[in-house]
Symmetry: C2
Subunit: 286 residues, 2 copies
Amino acid sequence: MAVQKNAERSELPIGIFDSGVGGLTVYRALHDRLPNEHFVYLGDTARVPYGTKSLATVEKYALENAQFLANYGIKILVVACNTASALALPAIRARIGLEVVGVIGPGGRRAITVANCEAPKIGVIATEATVRSGAYVEAVHKSCSEAVVFQTACPLFVPLAEEGWAEESETASIAERYLADMREFTPDALVLGCTHYPILHDVIQRTVGPDVTLVDSGKATAEEVASLLKSTGLASPRKISGERSLCDDLDHFFVTDAAERFASVAERFLGVKPAKLEAIEVPALT
Amino acid sequence: MAVQKNAERSELPIGIFDSGVGGLTVYRALHDRLPNEHFVYLGDTARVPYGTKSLATVEKYALENAQFLANYGIKILVVACNTASALALPAIRARIGLEVVGVIGPGGRRAITVANCEAPKIGVIATEATVRSGAYVEAVHKSCSEAVVFQTACPLFVPLAEEGWAEESETASIAERYLADMREFTPDALVLGCTHYPILHDVIQRTVGPDVTLVDSGKATAEEVASLLKSTGLASPRKISGERSLCDDLDHFFVTDAAERFASVAERFLGVKPAKLEAIEVPALT
Protein backbone atom coordinates (compact mmCIF):
# COMPACT_ATOMS: atom_id res chain seq x y z
CA MET A 1 0.00 0.00 0.00
CA ALA A 2 2.73 2.43 1.05
CA VAL A 3 4.71 1.41 -2.03
CA GLN A 4 1.73 2.03 -4.30
CA LYS A 5 1.16 5.43 -2.72
CA ASN A 6 4.82 6.32 -3.23
CA ALA A 7 4.51 5.30 -6.90
CA GLU A 8 1.79 7.92 -7.31
CA ARG A 9 3.69 10.51 -5.31
CA SER A 10 6.85 9.91 -7.32
CA GLU A 11 5.19 11.65 -10.27
CA LEU A 12 4.86 14.88 -8.29
CA PRO A 13 7.39 17.70 -8.62
CA ILE A 14 10.09 18.57 -6.10
CA GLY A 15 9.23 21.82 -4.32
CA ILE A 16 11.90 24.49 -3.80
CA PHE A 17 11.52 27.79 -2.05
CA ASP A 18 13.89 30.68 -1.51
CA SER A 19 13.61 34.25 -0.29
CA GLY A 20 14.11 35.40 -3.88
CA VAL A 21 16.30 34.67 -6.87
CA GLY A 22 19.35 33.19 -5.06
CA GLY A 23 17.77 29.74 -4.83
CA LEU A 24 18.00 29.46 -8.60
CA THR A 25 21.57 28.23 -8.09
CA VAL A 26 20.10 25.38 -6.00
CA TYR A 27 17.46 24.76 -8.66
CA ARG A 28 20.22 24.52 -11.27
CA ALA A 29 22.19 22.03 -9.14
CA LEU A 30 19.05 19.88 -8.63
CA HIS A 31 18.12 20.08 -12.30
CA ASP A 32 21.62 19.06 -13.39
CA ARG A 33 21.76 16.13 -10.95
CA LEU A 34 18.17 14.93 -11.46
CA PRO A 35 17.21 15.42 -15.12
CA ASN A 36 14.14 13.15 -14.83
CA GLU A 37 12.54 15.25 -12.09
CA HIS A 38 10.45 18.33 -12.49
CA PHE A 39 10.35 21.25 -10.10
CA VAL A 40 8.12 23.92 -8.67
CA TYR A 41 10.03 26.96 -7.40
CA LEU A 42 8.70 29.73 -5.17
CA GLY A 43 10.76 32.94 -4.81
CA ASP A 44 9.43 35.20 -2.04
CA THR A 45 10.49 38.36 -3.87
CA ALA A 46 7.93 40.54 -2.07
CA ARG A 47 9.71 39.98 1.23
CA VAL A 48 13.32 39.41 0.20
CA PRO A 49 15.91 39.57 1.81
CA TYR A 50 15.59 37.23 4.82
CA GLY A 51 19.25 37.57 5.86
CA THR A 52 18.76 40.76 7.86
CA LYS A 53 15.43 39.76 9.46
CA SER A 54 14.58 38.24 12.84
CA LEU A 55 13.99 34.59 13.70
CA ALA A 56 10.25 35.10 14.23
CA THR A 57 9.78 36.85 10.88
CA VAL A 58 11.88 34.37 8.89
CA GLU A 59 9.99 31.46 10.48
CA LYS A 60 6.60 32.99 9.64
CA TYR A 61 7.54 33.65 6.00
CA ALA A 62 9.14 30.21 5.61
CA LEU A 63 6.06 28.40 6.96
CA GLU A 64 3.78 30.30 4.60
CA ASN A 65 6.00 29.41 1.63
CA ALA A 66 6.22 25.74 2.65
CA GLN A 67 2.44 25.52 3.03
CA PHE A 68 1.90 27.11 -0.39
CA LEU A 69 4.08 24.46 -2.05
CA ALA A 70 2.54 21.63 -0.02
CA ASN A 71 -0.91 22.76 -1.23
CA TYR A 72 0.36 22.87 -4.82
CA GLY A 73 1.33 19.22 -4.51
CA ILE A 74 4.99 18.19 -4.16
CA LYS A 75 6.76 15.01 -3.09
CA ILE A 76 9.59 16.57 -1.10
CA LEU A 77 10.52 20.12 -0.13
CA VAL A 78 13.95 21.69 -0.58
CA VAL A 79 14.51 24.85 1.46
CA ALA A 80 17.04 26.57 -0.81
CA CYS A 81 17.39 29.66 1.36
CA ASN A 82 20.28 29.35 3.82
CA THR A 83 18.70 31.76 6.29
CA ALA A 84 15.40 29.85 6.30
CA SER A 85 17.30 26.55 6.54
CA ALA A 86 19.22 27.90 9.53
CA LEU A 87 16.20 29.27 11.36
CA ALA A 88 13.01 27.52 10.29
CA LEU A 89 13.63 23.85 9.42
CA PRO A 90 12.19 22.36 12.64
CA ALA A 91 9.05 24.51 12.35
CA ILE A 92 8.55 23.52 8.69
CA ARG A 93 9.03 19.81 9.46
CA ALA A 94 6.50 20.06 12.28
CA ARG A 95 3.94 21.66 9.98
CA ILE A 96 4.02 19.75 6.70
CA GLY A 97 3.98 15.96 6.42
CA LEU A 98 6.77 15.71 3.86
CA GLU A 99 10.49 15.13 3.77
CA VAL A 100 12.18 18.52 4.09
CA VAL A 101 15.80 19.08 3.02
CA GLY A 102 17.66 22.27 3.89
CA VAL A 103 20.96 23.39 2.38
CA ILE A 104 22.96 23.71 5.60
CA GLY A 105 23.17 20.06 6.70
CA PRO A 106 24.34 18.89 3.26
CA GLY A 107 26.79 21.83 2.98
CA GLY A 108 28.31 21.10 6.39
CA ARG A 109 28.64 17.35 5.70
CA ARG A 110 30.15 17.94 2.28
CA ALA A 111 32.77 20.29 3.75
CA ILE A 112 34.01 17.52 6.07
CA THR A 113 34.10 15.00 3.20
CA VAL A 114 36.13 17.21 0.87
CA ALA A 115 38.48 18.43 3.66
CA ASN A 116 39.29 14.75 4.14
CA CYS A 117 41.55 15.03 7.21
CA GLU A 118 41.38 14.40 10.95
CA ALA A 119 40.95 17.87 12.38
CA PRO A 120 39.78 19.87 9.39
CA LYS A 121 39.64 23.65 9.27
CA ILE A 122 36.32 24.69 7.76
CA GLY A 123 35.53 28.23 6.61
CA VAL A 124 31.96 29.44 6.17
CA ILE A 125 30.84 32.61 4.38
CA ALA A 126 27.16 33.57 4.63
CA THR A 127 24.67 36.33 5.46
CA GLU A 128 24.69 38.01 8.88
CA ALA A 129 21.63 36.01 10.02
CA THR A 130 23.08 32.66 8.97
CA VAL A 131 26.42 33.41 10.63
CA ARG A 132 24.69 34.58 13.82
CA SER A 133 22.53 31.45 13.92
CA GLY A 134 25.60 29.21 14.18
CA ALA A 135 23.75 26.62 12.07
CA TYR A 136 26.75 25.77 9.87
CA VAL A 137 29.03 25.44 12.89
CA GLU A 138 26.56 22.97 14.38
CA ALA A 139 26.19 21.05 11.10
CA VAL A 140 29.95 20.76 10.67
CA HIS A 141 30.45 19.60 14.27
CA LYS A 142 27.73 16.96 13.88
CA SER A 143 29.86 15.37 11.16
CA CYS A 144 33.20 15.92 12.88
CA SER A 145 33.52 17.21 16.42
CA GLU A 146 37.26 17.94 15.92
CA ALA A 147 36.66 20.44 13.11
CA VAL A 148 37.62 24.08 13.67
CA VAL A 149 35.15 26.47 12.06
CA PHE A 150 35.68 30.13 11.15
CA GLN A 151 32.77 32.21 9.82
CA THR A 152 32.53 35.59 8.04
CA ALA A 153 29.47 37.52 6.84
CA CYS A 154 29.80 39.08 3.36
CA PRO A 155 26.68 41.29 3.07
CA LEU A 156 27.67 43.05 -0.18
CA PHE A 157 28.09 39.77 -2.09
CA VAL A 158 24.30 39.45 -2.53
CA PRO A 159 23.71 42.83 -4.23
CA LEU A 160 26.92 42.39 -6.24
CA ALA A 161 25.70 39.00 -7.53
CA GLU A 162 22.26 40.42 -8.33
CA GLU A 163 23.90 43.28 -10.25
CA GLY A 164 25.79 40.60 -12.21
CA TRP A 165 29.16 42.06 -11.13
CA ALA A 166 31.06 38.74 -11.06
CA GLU A 167 34.08 40.06 -12.95
CA GLU A 168 34.22 43.73 -11.94
CA SER A 169 37.38 44.91 -10.18
CA GLU A 170 35.35 46.37 -7.27
CA THR A 171 34.00 42.90 -6.52
CA ALA A 172 37.53 41.50 -6.36
CA SER A 173 38.56 44.33 -4.07
CA ILE A 174 35.55 43.85 -1.78
CA ALA A 175 36.26 40.10 -1.69
CA GLU A 176 39.86 40.87 -0.63
CA ARG A 177 38.55 42.98 2.22
CA TYR A 178 35.91 40.48 3.41
CA LEU A 179 38.13 37.41 3.05
CA ALA A 180 41.47 38.67 4.44
CA ASP A 181 40.95 36.98 7.83
CA MET A 182 39.55 33.88 6.13
CA ARG A 183 42.66 33.53 3.98
CA GLU A 184 44.81 33.85 7.09
CA PHE A 185 42.76 31.04 8.69
CA THR A 186 43.82 28.79 5.73
CA PRO A 187 40.71 26.62 5.63
CA ASP A 188 40.78 23.16 4.06
CA ALA A 189 37.29 23.77 2.70
CA LEU A 190 35.24 26.94 2.37
CA VAL A 191 31.44 26.64 2.39
CA LEU A 192 29.54 29.08 0.15
CA GLY A 193 26.77 29.44 2.73
CA CYS A 194 24.47 31.73 0.75
CA THR A 195 22.70 30.80 -2.47
CA HIS A 196 24.00 33.90 -4.25
CA TYR A 197 27.65 33.15 -3.65
CA PRO A 198 28.11 30.47 -6.37
CA ILE A 199 27.59 33.34 -8.85
CA LEU A 200 30.82 34.82 -7.42
CA HIS A 201 32.58 31.41 -7.28
CA ASP A 202 35.54 32.41 -9.46
CA VAL A 203 36.40 35.67 -7.71
CA ILE A 204 36.09 33.95 -4.31
CA GLN A 205 38.38 31.13 -5.48
CA ARG A 206 40.97 33.62 -6.77
CA THR A 207 40.82 35.51 -3.47
CA VAL A 208 41.33 32.55 -1.13
CA GLY A 209 43.74 30.76 -3.47
CA PRO A 210 43.67 27.43 -5.34
CA ASP A 211 44.40 25.25 -2.27
CA VAL A 212 41.02 25.94 -0.69
CA THR A 213 38.19 23.68 -1.90
CA LEU A 214 34.96 25.64 -2.30
CA VAL A 215 31.79 23.83 -1.24
CA ASP A 216 28.58 24.74 -3.04
CA SER A 217 25.79 23.91 -0.58
CA GLY A 218 23.32 23.71 -3.47
CA LYS A 219 25.29 20.95 -5.20
CA ALA A 220 25.74 19.09 -1.90
CA THR A 221 21.97 19.34 -1.38
CA ALA A 222 21.27 17.96 -4.86
CA GLU A 223 23.39 14.88 -4.02
CA GLU A 224 21.47 14.27 -0.80
CA VAL A 225 18.11 14.77 -2.52
CA ALA A 226 19.14 12.18 -5.11
CA SER A 227 19.92 9.64 -2.35
CA LEU A 228 16.69 10.44 -0.53
CA LEU A 229 14.56 9.92 -3.65
CA LYS A 230 16.21 6.54 -4.18
CA SER A 231 15.87 5.36 -0.59
CA THR A 232 12.22 6.42 -0.31
CA GLY A 233 11.16 5.12 -3.73
CA LEU A 234 10.13 8.64 -4.73
CA ALA A 235 12.38 9.00 -7.79
CA SER A 236 10.43 9.93 -10.89
CA PRO A 237 9.57 7.03 -13.24
CA ARG A 238 10.06 9.45 -16.17
CA LYS A 239 13.05 8.81 -18.44
CA ILE A 240 13.99 11.90 -20.37
CA SER A 241 16.41 11.20 -23.19
CA GLY A 242 19.00 13.74 -24.19
CA GLU A 243 19.74 17.01 -22.44
CA ARG A 244 16.93 18.82 -20.63
CA SER A 245 16.99 22.61 -20.69
CA LEU A 246 16.84 24.70 -17.52
CA CYS A 247 13.54 26.52 -17.01
CA ASP A 248 11.67 24.50 -19.64
CA ASP A 249 7.90 24.12 -19.41
CA LEU A 250 8.12 21.09 -17.09
CA ASP A 251 9.23 23.45 -14.30
CA HIS A 252 6.85 25.92 -12.74
CA PHE A 253 8.07 29.16 -11.16
CA PHE A 254 6.15 31.38 -8.74
CA VAL A 255 7.18 34.73 -7.28
CA THR A 256 5.41 36.89 -4.72
CA ASP A 257 6.33 40.11 -6.58
CA ALA A 258 8.06 41.74 -9.55
CA ALA A 259 8.06 38.79 -11.96
CA GLU A 260 9.81 40.83 -14.63
CA ARG A 261 12.83 41.56 -12.47
CA PHE A 262 12.94 37.88 -11.42
CA ALA A 263 12.97 36.83 -15.06
CA SER A 264 15.85 39.13 -15.91
CA VAL A 265 17.95 38.06 -12.90
CA ALA A 266 17.12 34.42 -13.76
CA GLU A 267 18.51 35.05 -17.22
CA ARG A 268 21.67 36.52 -15.66
CA PHE A 269 22.06 33.52 -13.30
CA LEU A 270 20.95 30.65 -15.58
CA GLY A 271 21.26 32.06 -19.09
CA VAL A 272 17.54 31.60 -19.74
CA LYS A 273 14.18 32.99 -18.59
CA PRO A 274 11.58 30.66 -17.00
CA ALA A 275 9.02 29.40 -19.52
CA LYS A 276 6.30 29.20 -16.84
CA LEU A 277 6.45 32.10 -14.37
CA GLU A 278 3.55 33.47 -12.30
CA ALA A 279 3.26 36.22 -9.69
CA ILE A 280 1.06 35.09 -6.79
CA GLU A 281 0.28 36.05 -3.21
CA VAL A 282 1.29 33.53 -0.54
CA PRO A 283 -1.67 33.22 1.86
CA ALA A 284 -1.16 33.84 5.57
CA LEU A 285 -1.42 30.71 7.71
CA THR A 286 -4.70 29.99 9.43
CA MET B 1 -13.79 76.04 15.63
CA ALA B 2 -11.32 74.93 12.95
CA VAL B 3 -8.68 77.13 14.58
CA GLN B 4 -9.28 75.59 17.98
CA LYS B 5 -9.09 72.12 16.48
CA ASN B 6 -5.78 72.98 14.83
CA ALA B 7 -4.47 74.26 18.17
CA GLU B 8 -5.08 70.81 19.64
CA ARG B 9 -3.71 69.04 16.60
CA SER B 10 -0.56 71.18 16.65
CA GLU B 11 0.58 69.33 19.75
CA LEU B 12 0.63 66.01 17.87
CA PRO B 13 3.84 64.61 16.41
CA ILE B 14 4.80 64.63 12.73
CA GLY B 15 4.59 61.12 11.30
CA ILE B 16 7.36 59.77 9.06
CA PHE B 17 7.53 56.41 7.38
CA ASP B 18 10.16 54.75 5.28
CA SER B 19 10.82 51.27 3.96
CA GLY B 20 13.62 50.92 6.51
CA VAL B 21 16.52 52.91 7.89
CA GLY B 22 17.12 55.28 4.95
CA GLY B 23 14.38 57.67 6.06
CA LEU B 24 16.48 58.53 9.10
CA THR B 25 18.28 61.07 6.89
CA VAL B 26 14.89 62.73 6.32
CA TYR B 27 14.15 62.53 10.06
CA ARG B 28 17.47 64.25 10.74
CA ALA B 29 16.69 67.03 8.25
CA LEU B 30 13.23 67.57 9.79
CA HIS B 31 14.62 67.49 13.32
CA ASP B 32 17.33 70.04 12.47
CA ARG B 33 14.89 72.38 10.74
CA LEU B 34 12.04 72.02 13.27
CA PRO B 35 13.51 71.67 16.76
CA ASN B 36 10.18 72.36 18.48
CA GLU B 37 8.43 69.43 16.81
CA HIS B 38 8.42 65.83 17.88
CA PHE B 39 8.29 62.86 15.55
CA VAL B 40 7.02 59.34 15.23
CA TYR B 41 8.99 57.25 12.76
CA LEU B 42 8.00 53.91 11.26
CA GLY B 43 10.64 51.84 9.43
CA ASP B 44 9.14 48.88 7.56
CA THR B 45 12.23 46.74 8.09
CA ALA B 46 10.31 43.45 7.70
CA ARG B 47 9.57 44.27 4.07
CA VAL B 48 12.51 46.45 3.03
CA PRO B 49 13.60 47.18 0.28
CA TYR B 50 10.75 48.73 -1.75
CA GLY B 51 13.00 49.84 -4.63
CA THR B 52 12.90 46.50 -6.44
CA LYS B 53 9.19 45.80 -5.84
CA SER B 54 6.09 46.34 -7.98
CA LEU B 55 3.67 49.25 -7.90
CA ALA B 56 0.87 47.15 -6.37
CA THR B 57 3.08 45.83 -3.57
CA VAL B 58 4.65 49.20 -2.74
CA GLU B 59 1.19 50.80 -2.64
CA LYS B 60 -0.19 48.12 -0.31
CA TYR B 61 2.75 48.40 2.12
CA ALA B 62 2.68 52.22 2.02
CA LEU B 63 -1.05 52.36 2.79
CA GLU B 64 -0.63 50.01 5.75
CA ASN B 65 2.21 52.14 7.13
CA ALA B 66 0.28 55.39 6.65
CA GLN B 67 -2.78 53.94 8.40
CA PHE B 68 -0.66 52.74 11.33
CA LEU B 69 0.73 56.25 11.86
CA ALA B 70 -2.69 57.88 11.38
CA ASN B 71 -4.07 55.57 14.10
CA TYR B 72 -1.15 56.49 16.39
CA GLY B 73 -2.14 60.14 16.08
CA ILE B 74 -0.12 62.55 13.93
CA LYS B 75 -0.76 66.00 12.50
CA ILE B 76 0.88 65.54 9.11
CA LEU B 77 2.53 62.62 7.34
CA VAL B 78 5.92 62.70 5.65
CA VAL B 79 6.56 59.84 3.24
CA ALA B 80 10.35 59.67 3.53
CA CYS B 81 10.74 56.74 1.14
CA ASN B 82 11.37 57.92 -2.43
CA THR B 83 9.91 54.76 -3.95
CA ALA B 84 6.70 55.08 -1.90
CA SER B 85 6.56 58.81 -2.71
CA ALA B 86 6.91 57.99 -6.40
CA LEU B 87 4.29 55.26 -6.48
CA ALA B 88 1.82 55.63 -3.62
CA LEU B 89 1.18 59.29 -2.77
CA PRO B 90 -2.23 59.60 -4.47
CA ALA B 91 -3.46 56.39 -2.79
CA ILE B 92 -2.25 57.55 0.64
CA ARG B 93 -3.88 60.97 0.22
CA ALA B 94 -7.14 59.30 -0.77
CA ARG B 95 -7.10 57.08 2.31
CA ILE B 96 -6.05 59.29 5.24
CA GLY B 97 -7.54 62.70 6.00
CA LEU B 98 -4.23 64.44 6.64
CA GLU B 99 -1.72 66.55 4.77
CA VAL B 100 0.78 64.19 3.14
CA VAL B 101 4.21 65.36 1.99
CA GLY B 102 6.45 63.15 -0.15
CA VAL B 103 10.13 63.74 -0.83
CA ILE B 104 9.98 63.87 -4.62
CA GLY B 105 8.00 67.08 -5.18
CA PRO B 106 10.22 69.08 -2.79
CA GLY B 107 13.40 67.53 -4.27
CA GLY B 108 12.36 68.36 -7.83
CA ARG B 109 11.37 71.95 -6.97
CA ARG B 110 14.57 72.53 -5.01
CA ALA B 111 16.68 71.32 -7.96
CA ILE B 112 15.14 74.00 -10.18
CA THR B 113 15.71 76.69 -7.53
CA VAL B 114 19.37 75.89 -6.99
CA ALA B 115 20.09 75.40 -10.71
CA ASN B 116 18.88 78.99 -11.09
CA CYS B 117 18.97 79.29 -14.89
CA GLU B 118 16.55 79.26 -17.81
CA ALA B 119 16.93 75.78 -19.23
CA PRO B 120 18.54 73.91 -16.36
CA LYS B 121 20.11 70.46 -16.69
CA ILE B 122 18.95 68.33 -13.76
CA GLY B 123 20.49 64.99 -12.85
CA VAL B 124 18.64 62.45 -10.71
CA ILE B 125 20.12 59.37 -9.04
CA ALA B 126 17.72 56.93 -7.38
CA THR B 127 16.62 53.28 -7.07
CA GLU B 128 15.50 51.33 -10.14
CA ALA B 129 11.82 51.67 -9.17
CA THR B 130 12.02 55.43 -8.64
CA VAL B 131 13.86 55.95 -11.94
CA ARG B 132 11.39 53.73 -13.79
CA SER B 133 8.43 55.63 -12.30
CA GLY B 134 9.59 58.88 -13.88
CA ALA B 135 8.28 60.73 -10.80
CA TYR B 136 11.30 63.05 -10.49
CA VAL B 137 11.18 63.90 -14.18
CA GLU B 138 7.54 64.87 -13.77
CA ALA B 139 8.23 66.88 -10.59
CA VAL B 140 11.08 68.80 -12.24
CA HIS B 141 8.99 69.55 -15.35
CA LYS B 142 6.12 70.82 -13.21
CA SER B 143 8.48 73.50 -11.89
CA CYS B 144 10.21 74.21 -15.19
CA SER B 145 9.06 72.70 -18.47
CA GLU B 146 12.35 73.69 -20.17
CA ALA B 147 14.50 71.58 -17.85
CA VAL B 148 16.43 68.64 -19.30
CA VAL B 149 16.52 65.67 -16.93
CA PHE B 150 18.94 62.73 -16.95
CA GLN B 151 18.41 59.81 -14.55
CA THR B 152 20.63 56.94 -13.37
CA ALA B 153 19.87 54.07 -10.98
CA CYS B 154 22.64 53.28 -8.48
CA PRO B 155 21.47 50.02 -6.84
CA LEU B 156 24.67 49.28 -4.90
CA PHE B 157 24.64 52.66 -3.11
CA VAL B 158 21.99 51.40 -0.65
CA PRO B 159 23.89 48.35 0.63
CA LEU B 160 27.14 50.38 0.63
CA ALA B 161 25.52 53.08 2.80
CA GLU B 162 24.05 50.45 5.14
CA GLU B 163 27.48 48.84 5.49
CA GLY B 164 28.80 52.29 6.43
CA TRP B 165 31.27 52.27 3.52
CA ALA B 166 31.22 56.03 2.87
CA GLU B 167 35.01 56.38 2.65
CA GLU B 168 36.09 53.01 1.24
CA SER B 169 37.94 53.03 -2.09
CA GLU B 170 35.51 50.49 -3.59
CA THR B 171 32.65 52.93 -3.03
CA ALA B 172 34.55 55.66 -4.89
CA SER B 173 35.26 53.25 -7.72
CA ILE B 174 31.61 52.10 -7.93
CA ALA B 175 30.52 55.75 -7.91
CA GLU B 176 32.88 56.44 -10.83
CA ARG B 177 31.28 53.61 -12.77
CA TYR B 178 27.66 54.59 -12.00
CA LEU B 179 28.17 58.33 -12.52
CA ALA B 180 30.38 58.43 -15.62
CA ASP B 181 27.46 59.27 -17.95
CA MET B 182 26.04 61.68 -15.38
CA ARG B 183 29.33 63.59 -15.22
CA GLU B 184 29.34 63.80 -19.01
CA PHE B 185 25.82 65.24 -18.87
CA THR B 186 27.24 68.09 -16.68
CA PRO B 187 24.09 68.74 -14.63
CA ASP B 188 23.55 72.09 -12.91
CA ALA B 189 21.99 70.26 -9.98
CA LEU B 190 22.00 66.58 -9.00
CA VAL B 191 19.12 65.24 -6.93
CA LEU B 192 19.98 62.56 -4.36
CA GLY B 193 16.72 60.73 -5.04
CA CYS B 194 17.08 57.96 -2.46
CA THR B 195 17.14 58.49 1.29
CA HIS B 196 20.35 56.48 1.66
CA TYR B 197 22.37 58.62 -0.72
CA PRO B 198 23.05 61.58 1.63
CA ILE B 199 25.22 59.12 3.61
CA LEU B 200 27.43 58.97 0.49
CA HIS B 201 27.19 62.75 -0.14
CA ASP B 202 30.94 63.39 -0.05
CA VAL B 203 32.00 60.60 -2.39
CA ILE B 204 29.20 61.55 -4.83
CA GLN B 205 30.32 65.21 -4.74
CA ARG B 206 33.94 64.22 -5.39
CA THR B 207 32.85 62.02 -8.30
CA VAL B 208 30.71 64.59 -10.13
CA GLY B 209 32.97 67.53 -9.26
CA PRO B 210 32.52 70.72 -7.25
CA ASP B 211 30.48 72.58 -9.90
CA VAL B 212 27.46 70.34 -9.46
CA THR B 213 25.10 71.33 -6.63
CA LEU B 214 23.79 68.25 -4.81
CA VAL B 215 20.14 68.41 -3.74
CA ASP B 216 19.18 66.46 -0.63
CA SER B 217 15.46 65.72 -1.05
CA GLY B 218 15.15 65.26 2.72
CA LYS B 219 16.36 68.80 3.43
CA ALA B 220 14.10 70.19 0.69
CA THR B 221 11.20 68.32 2.27
CA ALA B 222 11.99 69.74 5.73
CA GLU B 223 11.78 73.27 4.27
CA GLU B 224 8.37 72.58 2.72
CA VAL B 225 7.07 70.95 5.90
CA ALA B 226 8.13 74.06 7.85
CA SER B 227 6.13 76.28 5.45
CA LEU B 228 3.15 73.96 5.59
CA LEU B 229 3.07 73.94 9.39
CA LYS B 230 3.13 77.73 9.39
CA SER B 231 0.42 78.17 6.75
CA THR B 232 -1.92 75.65 8.36
CA GLY B 233 -1.40 76.81 11.94
CA LEU B 234 -0.12 73.36 12.87
CA ALA B 235 3.33 74.40 14.14
CA SER B 236 3.99 73.16 17.65
CA PRO B 237 3.42 75.70 20.46
CA ARG B 238 6.36 74.14 22.32
CA LYS B 239 9.50 76.26 22.68
CA ILE B 240 12.52 74.14 23.34
CA SER B 241 15.50 76.16 24.49
CA GLY B 242 19.01 75.13 23.56
CA GLU B 243 19.96 72.30 21.25
CA ARG B 244 17.72 69.25 21.05
CA SER B 245 19.41 65.87 20.57
CA LEU B 246 18.48 63.51 17.76
CA CYS B 247 16.57 60.40 18.87
CA ASP B 248 15.78 61.78 22.34
CA ASP B 249 12.75 60.48 24.22
CA LEU B 250 10.38 63.00 22.59
CA ASP B 251 10.67 60.99 19.37
CA HIS B 252 9.13 57.55 19.05
CA PHE B 253 10.54 54.94 16.64
CA PHE B 254 8.77 51.82 15.39
CA VAL B 255 10.14 49.06 13.19
CA THR B 256 8.38 46.04 11.74
CA ASP B 257 11.39 43.78 12.38
CA ALA B 258 14.94 43.44 13.68
CA ALA B 259 15.02 46.42 16.07
CA GLU B 260 18.60 45.68 17.06
CA ARG B 261 19.92 46.01 13.53
CA PHE B 262 17.89 49.22 13.08
CA ALA B 263 19.44 50.66 16.22
CA SER B 264 22.96 49.93 15.07
CA VAL B 265 22.41 51.37 11.58
CA ALA B 266 20.74 54.40 13.21
CA GLU B 267 23.89 54.87 15.24
CA ARG B 268 25.96 54.69 12.04
CA PHE B 269 23.70 57.24 10.26
CA LEU B 270 22.94 59.64 13.13
CA GLY B 271 25.65 58.99 15.69
CA VAL B 272 23.11 57.91 18.31
CA LYS B 273 20.62 55.09 18.99
CA PRO B 274 16.89 55.87 19.40
CA ALA B 275 15.84 56.25 23.05
CA LYS B 276 12.34 54.93 22.30
CA LEU B 277 12.34 52.05 19.81
CA GLU B 278 9.69 49.33 19.48
CA ALA B 279 9.22 46.39 17.13
CA ILE B 280 5.58 46.09 16.06
CA GLU B 281 3.46 44.41 13.39
CA VAL B 282 1.70 46.75 10.95
CA PRO B 283 -1.89 45.47 10.60
CA ALA B 284 -3.27 44.63 7.17
CA LEU B 285 -5.94 47.05 5.95
CA THR B 286 -9.55 46.08 6.41
